[in-house]
Symmetry: C2
Subunit: 338 residues, 2 copies
């Protein structure tokens, strides 16, 4: 469990940093559990990078208990960060029905634009500054490429680090309606899709896609015109779709003044209970398979392009650029001949 020791005194932090640099993942994990944010940050940096330290850290954290993960996704400007900020406050105060109060909460902000920028989500950090000095809260942006499996593996890796260190609840916040949303849904226990009034104008396919990932719907900025219509649209969509054992509840919120956040928290708790009753085995297995597959394909394609294979790769690429082969034939040539 985390304590406040190690992070309060800036001098202490600085001394720790020096130790951290020469520390093994085991040592860092111990320090991070004692409350060192420098050690925690270093561990996450380890899983974002390549090499032995990545492997050592992964071995450590994947054998630890996984935290409870809430994924928060939705279009830019939907109010996800403000909502996350509110959720942190409630999480530290209230428990789920069958779960004690979360004493430590972490937020991972995922920036899907990372393949180009490597930048950090400064905007989000800013908005969540109310918790920036709270030692029970840890906020981290993941904007780097990660190595094997890319950003989509950096997220589960970071989540596992946070779990191993003692964060019981991790909120993963993502911008977008694309593949990253899907990846987050496969990492999260409970996926919250944040919409705003007027979303009823969205095209059909987007609606269908959102319906598939959502465990809980939030209509944020619900004091604006169109909230009722958006709710009606969602209800109708769910009525038309297949009836599963869990029907995503729809929660109206106004994140800016906190309206509805307690209701959202209750909805999360009900889904948490639902997962416990259902038995999470199949879900855990599916998630593990996702993760394994991502690493496998990254590792395999890396292999084809290094060492002796590198020249053959370049030759096939030449053929491809010249229009004398296609990507499928070229890939098979690299794999099965030679």
């Amino acid at each position: 469990m985390l304590t406040s020791r190690g992070c309060r005194d800036p001098h202490h932090v600085r001394r720790l940093e020096v130790t951290v640099i020469t520390g093994t993942p085991e040592q860092l994990l111990e320090r991070a559990r004692d409350g060192s944010r420098a050690a925690l940050a270093r561990l996450i940096t380890y899983v974002e990078g390549a090499g032995d330290r990545h492997q050592e850290t992964a071995s450590l954290v994947y054998s630890s208990h996984a935290p409870y993960v809430v994924g928060l996704t939705g279009a830019p400007g939907a109010g996800k960060s403000t909502l996350t900020d509110r959720l942190i406050t409630v999480a530290l105060r209230e428990s789920f029905a069958r779960r004690p109060v979360f004493t430590h909460v972490a937020v991972v902000c995922v920036d899907p634009s990372s393949p180009f920028t490597g930048g950090a989500l400064l905007g989000d950090r800013y908005r969540m500054q109310g918790h920036a000095t709270d030692e029970r809260v840890y906020i981290r942006s993941l904007a780097t490429r990660g190595h094997l499996g890319g950003l989509s593996m950096a997220v589960p890796d970071a989540v596992r680090v946070l779990g191993a260190v003692g964060f019981e609840l991790v909120i993963v916040e993502t911008v977008g309606v694309g593949q990253m949303e899907v990846d987050v849904a496969s990492t999260a226990d409970t996926t919250v899709v944040v919409l705003t009034p007027g979303w009823g104008d969205a095209v059909q396919a987007e609606k269908a896609g959102i319906l598939e990932v959502a465990d809980v719907f939030v209509i944020n900025k619900a004091d604006r015109a169109g909230a009722t219509q958006t709710r009606r649209d969602l209800e109708r969509m769910m009525d038309m779709g297949p009836a599963g054992p869990w029907r995503p509840p729809i929660v109206d919120t106004v994140a800016s003044d906190g309206t509805g956040v307690d209701e959202l928290w209750s909805a999360l708790g009900r889904h948490h209970d639902f997962l416990l009753e259902e038995g999470g085995d199949e879900r855990r297995r599916r998630r593990a398979a996702h993760e394994l597959d991502r690493v496998l394909s990254a590792l395999l394609s890396e292999r084809v392009r290094t060492g002796e294979s590198a020249q053959r790769y370049e030759e096939q690429l030449d053929e491809l650029v010249a229009g004398r082969t296609d990507p499928y034939r070229a890939a098979r040539a690299l794999l099965f001949e030679g």
Copy 2:
């Protein structure tokens, strides 16, 4: 080149369908070039699926001339479909400076929610119905998973089919700000990022990501409040970033009434010219490498999970679920032991 023959008379289309089913990709390509939409649709279905027909079709179309590809991306509700609709009209009427008028234009609507739904972008089809009966225009939604390399390979494959059939301009329209945007940018010659007034509120990282992919910016719904501020924000961002040989122009549009669409068309033409002057070799090679890599990793991970490897895969997955290994060690065990 396409002619109108084969698609006008519904009876003719029906007779063609029968022929199509038994046709080889070569035969289909010939018919599609003669104007058969049924044959064209079948070819795209071939590249979306697995098996010999996929490989045969890919071999054919990747040796043909690639069309000029404009990628259009932006958040839901930004007005991409209406803008695409307007662009089609201009494309069929106007030429680029060094390029004759586009006699045939295709649109590929990409639905990134597909891993879950497999549905079609009905909303977009509806909005573009002004061109639905125009024989020079072909609109296709890609919402299926594709096979090797997923949707991100289905897009370049479909683009190549359209090029081989005689479409000189292909507009690829994508919803989202995530990985799919990046993939589209790697497929497109010119990427248009569609924003709306008020976008200045977006977080920093999203801005940076968009800056990296954009060749042309559009501020759509520019008659609304905030357009000037959005333009100022974009200019400032570009001033702060590295100065490249091409500075993305910013075009104000009101797609709903056609305002600014001619200016957008000129901007596309200028970027097209810029690409010609720069020499597209490096860009083409980078794109080919992207495509090869996607197929490679898909093929490789498929291989690990079939035949004799299947049992070892399940064993590693068991270990992973039980927390006795991590995804990286499990992947290495599957690859390098046995």
